[in-house]
């Protein structure tokens, strides 16, 4: 069986880097791997979704509704927006960060009061994490994506930790390797 992962969030949160690392790790673990994402209308501010699928033989690079084993969302409402993709016993990991969409910021629309509660209604396996605070504790708010990658990695049994760490080292700037490794560890050991 193939493993299907959706990484969702907002432009600028480091989603594409996280999905690149996942792809490299899956490939190095010997799996056929595909990923698909749409580069949006503007540089920043729109929602971003990356689909990653790996396993013995992968055909479609796209995940359909009711198929994802894992949804990793960098932002609350993006988790809610993508919940149709989660399969029945799938895991959803939600970062507690809220980024107000422009219609909300300008008072036209409302941000849901309890998006995590809504998510829990549909997903039995919901993991909630404040990765932003963890990244701030580590002194670099930009490693939030790697904290989240770490917690996702913990939920992918078919890829060994060592492979993850190598893929991480290969994809981040040399001088930030240490803080990224720490960020990954914090996510990986999160419970």
């Amino acid at each position: 069986m193939n493993t299907k992962v959706i990484i969702a969030g907002v432009g600028g949160q480091g989603i594409l880097l996280a999905s690149d690392i996942l792809c490299e790790a899956a490939m190095k673990a010997g799996f056929d791997t595909k990923k698909s994402e749409v580069h949006g209308m503007s540089q920043r501010g729109g929602d971003v979704v990356s689909h990653v699928i790996f396993g013995e033989k992968v055909y479609s690079p796209l995940i359909s509704y009711d198929e994802a084993d894992i949804i990793l969302s960098f932002e609350q409402v993006e988790a809610l927006r993508n919940i149709d993709y989660l399969k029945k016993d799938g895991v959803i990991i939600v970062n507690t960060m809220k980024i107000l969409p422009l219609p909300v910021a300008s008072g036209i629309a409302d941000y849901p009061n309890d998006s995590i509660g809504e998510i829990k209604k549909f997903a039995k396996n919901t993991i909630v994490i404040d990765a932003e605070s963890i990244a701030n504790e580590l002194g670099n708010r930009r490693v939030m994506n790697i904290v989240l990658l770490g917690i996702m990695a913990r939920n992918v049994e078919s890829i060994k930790k060592e492979i993850w760490l190598n893929a991480l080292r290969n994809n981040v700037p040399q001088k930030t390797i240490d803080v990224n490794l720490k960020a990954f560890e914090r996510g990986y050991s999160f419970s």
């Binding site: 907002v10 432009g11 792809c23 490299e24 490939m27 056929d32 791997t33 595909k34 990923k35 698909s36 994402e37 749409v38 580069h39 949006g40 209308m41 503007s42 540089q43 920043r44 501010g45 729109g46 929602d47 992968v58 055909y59 479609s60 690079p61 796209l62 359909s64 509704y65 009711d66 198929e67 409402v77 993006e78 809610l80 927006r81 919940i83 149709d84 107000l100 969409p101 422009l102 219609p103 909300v104 910021a105 300008s106 008072g107 036209i108 629309a109 409302d110 941000y111 849901p112 998006s115 809504e118 998510i119 549909f122």
Partner: protein, 583 residues
């Protein structure tokens, strides 16, 4: 060696391995990264063209000289290039000639969902369609070979899910191909009617020969399984079919034009019930039906939007129709927006405030149409803002007092705005044209253009001065304004639209996302809660850094994304917005 590559990266790699000498393109999603990656191979001369027509003609010129060439564009770009496309179909190719069209089913970032397989049939040019990155690379190489063997340009059709999906590719070596050199041959390269009549005959003969090739082509293949259901498919749809219908027999077509008639008939004879799964138009379906074969296609497969595995399962009644959970309604939309500090914002704020009719154009700035700016009335195609204004102005004259502005970006102006501006001057138009000059092709991710003074390969080039250019085109009144000066922007647009004479306002400031702008230190702004009355004037800017708290009736500035453009400070009449203290 194996690498994970996007379809676009794989096409560039295929060009490199296939001995390509020359490549050019105008950027357009989802095709842009083909040339960006091509430029990494120093053996290939790569360049940004001014538009897709000049790109295709330049590539044909290099092919005249015996080089192996590739030109890339998005699907609507091929409309711009369609004039030389049809001529190139007659002329053929001395050096291998590949034309890449990247279509956008689902319209992720396009104005329509046109299916460019129709161009292959109309221009009588063979077309290849890969279904993953490995095939993208291989078919690029094969396209160069077919092009030289049959003396024809070859279309390579990608779609968004091919261009922007990554899959594993086996990397190969570069084939060294000599440049054949130029020879004068007017019977082929100069298509006067008496030459073209002979060439048309050749083109028809060529198609018959390529149809034979198509029947035996390695990448057109049948996978027999259960013969109760046979599915013909191509491109990305092949992947969806294989996943959705693992037990069905499949005919996978990669040489989509001309279609392999013999192979299709063989497949049709060997399966009980025949289907075709293709995105958008019933292209294969129409052809198969014309062969006199019964086939089911658009009766069950949607014509609108992109496909996926689930849609195919549902179409074949393998699963029940999926009902969306109500969470979708509870998730507020997150439309893309002009960035905090975007140099275009003040112009759209002014257009909205002055209640002007704005004919728009294609770029990041089309987002000025969205609320709360609501400052664009039309968007048609590259360059249409100016000529739409000219026509609309004529039809409103004496009937409607509203004033018109045309709004166009710098790269779009170079692409297709110049001829329109000449038309406006020649036909005595009086509209005001605003050229939003952010000194880069921003929307597709910052590519150089004639206004930046740099080439794709990083060399210095002539830097076009838009002010001089428009003066040269006959516009006497040209104004340059810094878009961070809100009052000047408003008063200039107001006075120029009131005046009955054609004029150009160059609204100039570099894109805030340019690396040199990102490095600059700005003084950020904050809101004084005591002075804010909740009037929401600042909210009307549509700046993503400004939010409004309905409960407290106060506006807030998100300091982390504020770049200190000061527009909100200029708008606030209560003095509630000030520079952040201590910076």
């Amino acid at each position: 060696m194996k690498e994970i590559l996007s379809g676009n990266e794989a096409v560039a790699r295929g060009g490199y391995e296939g001995g390509l000498h020359f490549a050019c393109a105008y950027p357009g999603t989802p095709s842009t990264e083909i040339l960006e990656n091509m430029a990494k191979y120093k053996e290939i001369h790569s360049q940004w063209s001014v538009n897709e027509k000049t790109a295709l003609e330049t590539a044909l010129g290099a092919s005249f000289g015996g080089m192996r060439v590739l030109v890339a564009m998005k699907h609507v770009g091929l409309n711009v290039a369609s004039d030389p496309l049809f001529s190139a179909g007659y002329i053929g190719a001395k050096g291998g000639f590949v034309i890449v069209t990247a279509d956008d089913p689902g319209m992720h970032s396009s104005q329509n969902e046109q299916d460019n397989r129709n161009y292959a049939r109309a221009a009588k040019i063979p077309m290849l369609e890969p279904s993953d990155s490995q095939e993208s690379k291989e078919l690029t190489k094969i396209a160069l070979e077919i092009s030289e063997e049959f003396d024809t340009p070859v279309l390579l059709r990608l779609t968004t899910r091919i261009s922007h999906s990554k899959s594993i590719v086996e990397i190969g070596e570069r084939k060294i191909v000599e440049v054949k050199g130029y020879e004068k041959n007017i019977k082929k390269n100069l298509i006067l009617p008496n030459h073209a009549r002979l060439l048309h005959k050749k083109v028809e003969e060529r198609l018959i020969k390529i149809k034979e090739l198509s029947n035996d082509f390695k990448y057109n293949f049948i996978e027999y399984k259960n013969k109760d259901i046979g599915i013909i498919t191509s491109g990305i749809s092949y992947q969806y079919v294989k996943e959705a219908m693992p037990d069905a027999s499949v005919l996978k077509i990669s040489l989509t034009w001309p279609l392999p008639e013999r192979l299709i008939k063989e497949f049709a004879n060997n399966v009980k019930k025949l289907y075709v799964v293709e995105e958008n138009d019933p292209f294969i379906e129409t052809e198969v039906k014309a062969m006199g074969i019964n086939i089911i296609g658009k009766e069950i497969i949607p014509i609108v939007g992109e496909l996926n595995t689930r849609i195919i399962k549902e179409s074949f009644n393998q699963v029940e129709k999926y009902n969306l959970k109500e969470t979708k309604e509870k998730s507020p939309a997150r439309p893309p927006a002009l960035c905090p500090g975007c140099p275009h914002t003040s112009v759209f704020y002014a257009i909205n405030k002055l209640k002007l009719i704005a004919t728009g154009d294609i770029g990041c700035y089309t987002l000025g149409a969205l609320p709360p700016l609501n400052a664009m009335d039309t968007c048609v195609d590259m360059g249409a803002s100016i000529t739409n204004a000219l026509g609309l102005e004529y039809s409103l004259r004496g009937r409607d007092k509203r004033k018109i502005v045309a709004v166009i970006g710098d790269s779009t102006f170079f692409h297709s705005g110049i001829t329109g501006l000449i038309d406006l001057v020649y036909n005595k138009g009086t509209s005001t044209v605003i050229i939003l000059d952010n000194s880069i092709t921003a929307m597709t991710g910052h590519q150089d253009n004639p206004g930046t003074g740099k080439t794709l390969m990083g060399e210095d080039a002539h830097r076009f001065d838009i002010e001089k250019l428009v003066r040269g085109l006959g516009i006497e009144d040209v104004f340059v304004v810094d878009t961070y000066n809100l009052n000047e922007v408003i008063s200039l647009i107001k006075s120029e639209t009131e005046r009955e004479k054609a004029s150009v306002i160059i609204a100039k400031r570099p894109c805030v996302l340019l690396p040199e702008m990102q490095k600059k230190k700005f003084e950020k702004y904050e809101i004084d809660e005591d002075k804010c009355t909740g009037c929401q004037m600042c909210v009307k800017l549509g700046c993503p850094a400004i939010s409004f708290d309905k409960a407290k009736k106060k506006a807030y500035i998100n300091e982390t994304i504020c770049v200190g453009c000061s527009l909100c400070y200029q708008i606030c009449k209560l003095g509630a917005i000030n520079k952040v203290k201590g910076e």
